[in-house]
Structures are given as C-alpha cells and as structure tokens.
Subunit: 132 residues, 2 copies
DNA sequence: TCTTGACCCTGTAGCGACTACAGGGTGCAG
DNA sequence: CTGCACCCTGTAGTCGCTACAGGGTCAAGA
C-alpha cells in the first residue's frame, strides 16, 4: 500500500487539508515523513490516528482532551478511569449547553408566538428585548 | 440622577467592564460623554441600551444581528417583519445546535453506559473512538 | 520537450466574542 | 500625602479552524 498525500488523507477522513496541518502543528498528529519533493507521506497508522481525532471532535471534545485521550489510548494495560472521567466531563459540558440552548429556544418560540406582526412599537420581540 | 461610571454600569447590568468597552468599540453602544478626568459618564439611556444588548446576547444573537435589532427598534412605525425574521433565524440556529448536541449526548451516554471500567485495551469509549 | 493545471509547501492573518494584561492616570478616604 | 480602588488606551491571547499569498512539485497531454 503506497503512502498517502495530505489530500488523499483529507478525502479518506473528511478532514480538510488545512485542518490536518493545523492538527500536526498542535501536536495531535505526528510529523509524517516527507517525499523527495517535501510532500507529507502518510501511512495507515496516521489515518487511524486522524480518524480517532475526528470522532473525538464530532463528540465535542476539545483538542487538549483529545491529546489526553490519545495518550491514554496508548497505554493498553492501565485502567480506563481517566478516560471515563474525560467522557463524563464532556457529557456534563454538552448537557450544560443543551440546557442553555433549550432555555433560549423556549424564549424565542414564546416571543415569536406572541408577535402579531404589526409595527415595531408594539412588537413583542422588541418589547421583551427592551425588558417589557 | 448622577452619571454612572463604567463600573457602576457593569454592576447594574451584569456585563463586565471590558465587555462594555468592547461593545463600544464594535459600535453597539454610543460613545458616552467623558468627565474632566476622561472617565466615561453614562446615563440611563445607555443602561437601557446595554440591557437590550445583554438580553439579546443571552438569547444567542450575534453582534451583527444585535446591531440590526437595535436599528429596527428605533423605527417605531415600521412593520416588525424584519425583527421576526432575525428571531426566526436565531431560533433555527439554536435548534440546529440542540440537534447536534443531543446526538453527542446520546453517544457519550451510550459509551459511558457500556464501559465496564477495566483496562484501556477493553474500554468501550476508547474502542469507539478508534472506530470499533 | 514544453506547458498546463492540480496539487503541495510555509507562514501569516482573520474570524467571533470576548478576556487579560501592561503601563499609565484619577479620585477619594484616612 | 499616601494608599488604594478605580479608570484609561492599546495590544495580545483564547479556541478551532479557515483563508490567503507567494511560492515549489509533478504527472498528463500536445
Ligand atoms: Zn408567553
Ligand atoms: Zn413582531
Ligand atoms: Zn449501546
Ligand atoms: Zn472505559
């Protein structure tokens, strides 16, 4: 199996080229070997690692947490308590955001429901933003 | 009623001093008159405007949208269709975010539910991040 | 052989909405 | 008069990208 260019890797993982280079700068991906022409040459190990990063990002983990997860994933024998703690923190963060957004949604829906589409002077939305 | 210092305004609205200055730079708040010592001197009009901005931010509106809302709020006679459109856009954005976060929450909860707290090699969380 | 065009490289700047200084000036109470 | 809390401007950092600018590389087609 031949080495992959950064564009190949981007197509295979769905992560944009610029983002792959950014992850490398941030220390999430190891610096790959280069071709004669100074192109990055990736192997399947790199692809697996990038896929791990992408799945973690899709769950909302920050790059610091992902670095920690990658480190933990390398130590097969250790207990997974730290992994679970990171996942629980992330779940808590997601739940906090959902709670905030749910409150926003309720207020926006209520505003929109009360607006009778007349003039700005009587508009319920503007009225509430002004504080009644 | 005497003029308010920026610190007074911050305490009364719950908006940090640095953020008030930032809103002024961004054109959301008018430049207030200054005292002899070059301190900003606010009146109740400024406080109302800042409160409007804060309530809008609390609903997740971006600063561009808030600028538009402030402009619209000044034209009392005009129909409120544009206001409603901004609110509907914001509601749609909030709903999109809730959907994304809800999917993340489900996956995180499921991962955590399947983890039997043994070694990293067998950890369901790490396993799924690796793509099974 | 030459040229075109797609790809790759580095380095830097921008996004949004703040937040945190650094390095100074002001104002009031003890 | 001396602290101390507050205020000023200007700049840089945060997070996770994203978008250039200004070049180099490489394979296919004429
Ligand atoms: Zn109601
Ligand atoms: Zn209305
Ligand atoms: Zn399950
Ligand atoms: Zn586990």
């Amino acid at each position: 199996m031949p080495a992959l260019s950064i564009g190949d890797l981007a197509r295979r993982t769905g992560v944009p080229v610029e983002t792959i280079r950014y992850y490398e700068r941030m220390g999430l991906l190891p610096k790959p070997p280069r071709t004669e022409g100074n192109y990055r040459a990736y192997e399947t190990g790199h692809e697996r690692r990038l896929a791990f990063v992408k799945r973690s990002r899709d769950l909302g983990f920050g790059l610091d947490a992902i670095r920690a997860l990658l480190d933990l994933a390398d130590g097969a024998d250790r207990p997974c308590g730290e992994v679970d703690a990171l996942a629980r923190d992330q779940l808590a963060e997601v739940e906090r955001k959902i709670a905030d957004l749910t409150a926003m949604r309720a207020e926006l829906q209520d505003m929109l429901g009360h607006c009778r589409a007349d003039t700005v002077a009587d508009c319920e939305i503007i009225g509430r933003l002004r504080g009644k």
